[in-house]
Symmetry: C2
Subunit: 400 residues, 2 copies
């Protein structure tokens, strides 16, 4: 059987048997509005992506030791969405593999070890990344330093000061900074989107100290924030390396590290990198079809439009409830601050009973995380807001 290290969502787990668009159906035929899953960015079981995978799977599905067109086409498509200083791609199977490689490269190229992350960060499952994912409750790894992420940053100066403080702490330990690694929507910190531009202070600070800036776009990337493909652009910064994963193949395990040419060259002078499945033909076909759907169905605009509508709908609920203390977000990544993890869990479970799926994150799991597939329609957003208001009312009236 599955290992006991697995954990299901919700007091009453959802036994999911079918899914389409923004809807998941359980074994009893009950339908749930999915306002949580950021992997099926184009909607669950998108037929065009499935067809692209099936077609490719009948022709060839091989690796990057042979010349094949798919990884090259995918690399070009991804790079066309990025600042021109970022010119090289490595394909992997998961955001974890991409982040793990980004850290290795940052340490090799700088000849330094220090890495700065936020104090509720999550960057992946590997041994290396568990030590850079304090939200898991595990201790920080060697040479990893965390900054206390404010839920409402004052601006670039404050974020710069936080990064400078981490650099000072590591240098006091005799460690030099290799990289600042942040999720540019600060998803597991509770969705800290504003003020736009605050991140730039930290990016300047790490570079002034000789380190690199790695943008973990596994959560904000692929259009979720509604202002282009990547979350970092909202802050007016250009990363040295960018990682992506979850939404990239709409469910297919495919991910990427995108990096500056000089970093790729310097790494390649010392090490090679081969990933058996990374860049395999079917995974690339899934990613290419996902990019097509995002473009052809206008999903970035939809994320912006529905995200604004959701924020406008949620704002009065939050203003009226003593249980809720803040509303943050960009596009279809929305965080609602509650007074405690217990309150957040109660709202999450009340919504689940009412057929709407969301989650919780941040310090003490006190922030609600609303992150539907980017295809969500206006009527579905209205359903979400109505259910949210009802769930908050129910929890207010309970004895919690």
């Amino acid at each position: 059987m599955l290992s006991p290290s697995y954990r299901l969502f919700y007091e009453q787990p959802v036994h999911a048997v079918r899914a389409q668009g923004c809807w998941i159906e359980d074994a009893d035929g009950r339908r749930y509005l999915d306002a949580y899953n950021n992997v099926p960015v184009a909607g669950h079981c998108h037929p065009r992506i499935g067809a692209a995978m099936a077609a490719q799977g009948g022709v060839i599905n091989t690796h990057t030791r042979y010349l094949t067109e798919h990884p090259v086409l995918l690399a070009e498509r991804l790079l066309a969405t990025l600042p021109e200083t970022i010119g090289k791609v490595v394909l992997t199977n998961s955001g974890s593999e991409a982040n793990d490689l980004a850290i290795r490269i940052s340490r090799m190229v700088t000849g330094r070890r220090g890495v700065i992350v936020t104090d509720c960060a999550y960057h992946g499952t590997s041994d290396l990344l568990q030590g850079m994912s304090p939200v898991t409750g595990l201790p920080l790894g060697p040479d990893v330093y965390a900054i206390a992420m404010p839920l409402e940053p004052a601006g670039p100066e404050q974020f710069a000061a936080l990064v400078e403080d981490a650099i000072a702490r590591m240098e006091a330990d005799g460690v030099l900074p290799a990289a600042l690694l942040v999720d540019t929507i600060f998803g597991s910190d509770g969705a800290i989107a504003d003020p736009t531009g605050f991140l730039a202070g930290g990016v300047d600070a790490i570079r002034a100290a000789g380190g690199l800036f790695i943008a973990d776009e596994v959560q904000p990337g692929f259009g979720r924030t509604g202002t282009g493909m990547w979350g970092f652009a909202r802050h007016g910064v250009v990363p040295d390396m960018v990682t992506t994963g979850k939404p990239m193949g709409n469910g297919q395990p495919v991910a990427a590290l995108l990096l500056r040419d000089e970093l790729a060259s310097e790494f390649a002078r010392h090490q090679r990198y081969f990933n058996t499945f990374g860049g395999s033909s079917v995974s690339c076909a899934a990613a290419l079809a996902t990019l097509d759907v995002i473009e052809d169905e206008g999903l970035i605009d939809n994320a912006a439009r529905i995200g604004r509508h959701l924020m406008a709908g949620l704002a009065p609920v939050i203003a009226a409830s003593p249980l809720l203390t803040g509303l943050r977000g960009a596009g279809l990544f929305i965080g609602v601050q509650t007074a405690s993890g217990e309150i957040a869990a109660a709202i999450v479970n009340a919504l689940r009973r009412d057929g709407v799926l969301i989650g919780a994150a941040g310090r003490g799991n006190a922030a609600l995380k609303i992150r539907p597939p980017l295809v969500i329609a206006m009527a579905e957003a209205d359903r979400l807001v109505a259910a949210f208001a009802k769930a908050v009312g129910d929890v207010e009236n309970s004895n919690l």
Copy 2:
């Protein structure tokens, strides 16, 4: 474009555009007999596996935070092939992710750090595993010790002595042994299959010192050695943990860690583990269909039968050539020792020119690696042997 850290096979890379069964076709319509790829274990583009993935992709493709049937079915199918002491499963996307987690668990459960690997081992791409993959030329990681793997082990006593020596070296450094991690066909060491049972000495030695035995079955597993599903069984040993990956989904990124119940319980007392794509429905469907094909098409028996035929056909070529010094293997994992890496490369490239794909591995890349999909037919094996004899003759007649 793709990072310069990528490396293509062969002096003249193969531009692969189509593949079926044991054949890869290039952009000019030339067909190559694939005697190298261990990922498409059921043959390239197996229609039944493609159909299973496409069907599942149209219904639901989600993760293990919801109750879904596929990961549970897959766990049960895998566990039914393993000794009963191994009762728990964690699903990942790659053998690297599975090995990385196995090492983490071994260190957490034992409270120790020391890991023993062979001196041409390859265990994966993560930061942690690069330090356990000396075949890459990278330095060993902290607390990692390598044993000098003999190409023709004398027996269990000799292998025990090698492991005991590594334990003594680490203990002299104040490090206690957590695990012995070996690929049970020693693929990147050059395919060291015999004498069966030699591995047992090392397994006894690591356990006597309080460490665990992790069988890396990414290469030998899923029937390749022709004597059951797993390579460790040839040595009469029962691992504490087993990892698999490459062949598991016939090309789909899916992998697994299978472990003793007590280890899974102890790990789960301290840490949770979630892998976004690991255990997703389509990946599980691919793995279940691959298991079906292995069973229904009798691929393990085919590996044994064709493997014996290949070994019998290659033996006289090897006996007759001054360039070749050994023939090793089990089932369809065959290693041919050559006198040098240059000779091995010359034979690999001569075969590629003649339309047959193999590779090289081992110390100095001097061992030829022959590892066709398990569906290879007798006539294809005969084609391989004839081409091999011709390539060896060509290299003998060259000025190398």
